[in-house]
Symmetry: C2
Subunit: 649 residues, 2 copies
Amino acid sequence: MQRNLTRAVCALFLVMGICSAQPHPLDGLSTAEYWVAYDVLQQAGHAGPEGFFASVLLREPPKNLVLNWKEGSATPREADVVMFEKGKTFEARVDLAARKLSSWRELKDVQAPFLGSEIFGSDEVIKKDQRVIEALKKRGLTDLNAVQCIVLPESYVAVPEQNTQRIGFGSCSEQHGSYHSWGRSIEGLTLQMDMVTKTILKVVDTEVVPVSKGGVNYEEIPERARPGTTPIAISQPMGASFQIKDGEVSWQNWHFRFRIDPRVGPVLNLVRFEDGGRMRSVMYEGSLSELYVPYMDPTNGWNSRVFIDAGEFYSGVGLLKPLRPGLDCPANAAYFDGLSAGEKGAPKIWPQVLCLFERAGSDPAWRHFEENIVHGRPSRELVLRSAAVIGNYDYLMDWRFQQDGAIDVAVGATGVIETKISAQKNAAGHPMEKSAPVDFGQFVADNTIGVNHDHFFSFRLDLDVDGVDNSFMADRMVQQLLPSDPMRKSIWAVKHTIAAREQDAIMDIHLETPSMWMFINPNVKGPLGYPTGYEIMPGVTAKSLLSPDDLPQKLGAFSEHQFWVTPNDPTQRYAAGVYPTSSKATDGIAVWTKANRPIENTDLVGWYTLGFHHMPRVEDWPVMPTMWHSFQIRPFNFFGANPVLDLPR
Amino acid sequence: MQRNLTRAVCALFLVMGICSAQPHPLDGLSTAEYWVAYDVLQQAGHAGPEGFFASVLLREPPKNLVLNWKEGSATPREADVVMFEKGKTFEARVDLAARKLSSWRELKDVQAPFLGSEIFGSDEVIKKDQRVIEALKKRGLTDLNAVQCIVLPESYVAVPEQNTQRIGFGSCSEQHGSYHSWGRSIEGLTLQMDMVTKTILKVVDTEVVPVSKGGVNYEEIPERARPGTTPIAISQPMGASFQIKDGEVSWQNWHFRFRIDPRVGPVLNLVRFEDGGRMRSVMYEGSLSELYVPYMDPTNGWNSRVFIDAGEFYSGVGLLKPLRPGLDCPANAAYFDGLSAGEKGAPKIWPQVLCLFERAGSDPAWRHFEENIVHGRPSRELVLRSAAVIGNYDYLMDWRFQQDGAIDVAVGATGVIETKISAQKNAAGHPMEKSAPVDFGQFVADNTIGVNHDHFFSFRLDLDVDGVDNSFMADRMVQQLLPSDPMRKSIWAVKHTIAAREQDAIMDIHLETPSMWMFINPNVKGPLGYPTGYEIMPGVTAKSLLSPDDLPQKLGAFSEHQFWVTPNDPTQRYAAGVYPTSSKATDGIAVWTKANRPIENTDLVGWYTLGFHHMPRVEDWPVMPTMWHSFQIRPFNFFGANPVLDLPR
């Protein structure tokens, strides 16, 4: 009775991962657990005044342990911690349940992710450097109150100093006349800083460009109601249709768990579909894995802008950012908070970083017009949404569960594009005409160039279709000539190919040679004799155009193909490696798959690359309209028929 | 005063194209006008008892006339009519305003579209044919009440008889035990019929396959409420935000007209965006142009299944099909009716074939998180939706207007897939394994194979960006090596290329060589000096895999490329030609563009191909879940900044 009461009281909090009564093995770390990690490291002498917590993440238990875990049995709980002290990076493994340090080792050759205090805390040092002061003076900037300087990490080794030192790349902006500093970069002036000694190693000043005075104050523009606009109300007066019990979400035959991971955002687990009373496994885990954003301007200060956003910035900046009710999620949404460790180990709570809501009413699940009657069923979907904001860019990240067993994964990009200030006012008199010279960006405002860049997202999809062991099948559509057919000369047919090894499962999209990508369970047959399966159906995406031997591209090599498959290895979670800061690209999916491991009838992970090139347009300034990209995971011969036939009218 | 009153009373009806007071030049034909066309042809002796109206469509006035037309001035009104009489096809042009026949000529070498009475009216003749009776008896079918036979036109010349005769391709199905006949085809038995003499020229019986008894009664499946489902209400208590005045829709700075064309469905016209008090032209006209659906099974009865659905079936079957409130469109939708001519010339009204509604509330138009505050504006969109149903397939067709100047065009495919009955029960014991033989379809139920096929939609987009004369620009992203850069080896840059002639503007999607497709106005520069433009941004699409020399593929050749540009020629409206029935592919976009006409700074039309391959899955039976595909038309350097910055909070 006592225990049940505790659980009932606790149920609400479990969702947020902040109840320590008896967490599920895949719950996010609770406040109490963050403090256990702190205490263990502090008591071991590793959290002194010069020690910083660069990363504290749940270490997932092995899959078999999770799948066999029963409520009431002991829950394995561990944390992976990265500590940074006096230029050295340490990796710790903390057994939270036993309150003990399982391992501690110094890592050579990698850099801990930059701390927020490193990125934002160098402003004063920089503005006291005589070379910087002189450079600013050349630009007419003598009052430095409105000048802000930051240092950013570099994902790859761009300069030799990174081989032995922790190097930050500094630049400044000037915000006089504005309430923020985007669009006000001070061009031509960059610096390199030793982050341990806080000394500026080098100041580079290539060209003096006047600071722009263009309008960037997007929030001060007067509101202008569109004539005749009437309110649209969405309400769910009897409450939400989804239930959450002990951290498990149930909705329209779907069952799943989620936690909010400080590095990759929402992590979905144990995604199952109830089919005629049977709980059938679809996906053990799904989440973002990495984010790669290379910029395309070869000038000083821009040529080094290649971001591995998730892995580089989760410590200093963080992907967990609040959602605004009524703007980011509709009136019927429920919200969830997240936790992450601060630099000194104390957890910080992030309010409303995830919302869950149903959308309904305007599209049919299916319909058919026959004999003058329209038959069909209305549909609804469940959206799990978060927002990743890495400096200027805002990415809305959706997992949209459909009633028919499909999951849409979508990314909505908005926020502020990165701009370069130009001495040239605009493109007038520089027409885009035949044989015009190539461009690295376009003017989006006077003296302001939106610099070309790419966005590549790697999604890690640990599908377990009807069980842990799956195979990857590519169904290729191939032209068949029909030499003896009197009516047709050609047709396409499907060739089913099972990928034996990792290299066989590297998929590229070509309209000339289309294929369908499926995770099938060769051990489970559906009623018609086909192996049960789930298809990964690509959406609009892009491939990197950079040279494969370019070091930043080696790090973001997941952008070279649209899909990859690996055998499940718990140490391989991040497509650009665990430590992308100043990385030599010795970790990551392109490295792992070189081993060409067997992938038949075993525990597999799929890696989908969602990418888009971005040549900014005037309309993207000063904040860009949201642009969505998506892909779908959908049942393929998983059910015995259309699973939404029996929906209520 | 009198006139104003008439207009006011008439305003409501004008939208539906059934008010004859003073129509806009681009309004659909009214009931009165259909009867004028009838009267003129009847009085000229062309609408006798053996004459049939195979097509009656608005003939659009020349663009300059429309653009210069003012309310109160004379409205040019004409109809294009195709008459079919005793095997002959005639083309008439009727001046509706003057009530006279402008031209009348017999067309050799083309076939009028099949009439509904030809498709469905041959059942009795077929079932009296001794060869058919014998063939049915071999299958155990002696009671023919439950057997239904139809004849379909063939888009291309599959047999030599089509060169001189009007040939229908007949087949039968048996619906005993069901309330419809989809999924109950009688395999192996086909026939060819002379449609003029109604004689069966040939009966082909290649194999006896038992008629399937599998379940197809999708509407009889008991409803099963998902546990915990609560209602979601969408309401717009103060009414819609869009206004319609004299047939023009205004919504959130957008202005446009539409008519419902019996051949291609909704036709949008004079699409303009009000920008700071200026009415700026975006698109003169946008509509579906054609639909090509080739099937991929080489056996008798299937090898001839290649449909040019819009052009072949609008007369006999028709794209205008009703929408069901609450299923196809939400509670706040408004509905519009359509008109089309019946076989004997009398117009038929189609209720609720188009709906218009706003969707709002769950996605931000833009957002940015800065200094612990989320900034942003909620968005809404206006959806103009229709449903095309050609026999088994249902296509929802959306034009979705965004507040930021973009238009999403989307197709949602649902309905019943075409199935072939198989003697083999299912795939059990026929595993899909390495080096499995190729497939032409997959089992979707016992004895029932979903046959592989493609869907290709050609959209005709007469963009007029800031005026009639535009150029087509492809912005190509090309790799640049940086031999002297210390930090990077490569980057991509943009090369702007203006297409001089039609062949330069044929666009194919390759991830290795991406490009952005734009209509620009070289005569109008935006505030930053760029020509104003609109981009056509492709969505997920496909390319035909058939051999280009295959006659059906020649007819559906628009499926070989993803975008085409032509100079505007009012006789070139249909991507597979005006008369696709038994066509030799002498008309259509692949033929026109061989002329390689100049396309710089002139009136242009863009043709977007939206395609997808469809290998059916078990979940697609007996009705398939709706699958959406889309593309976007969006402003590119058209505005001076993000046009939704000033939206109300």
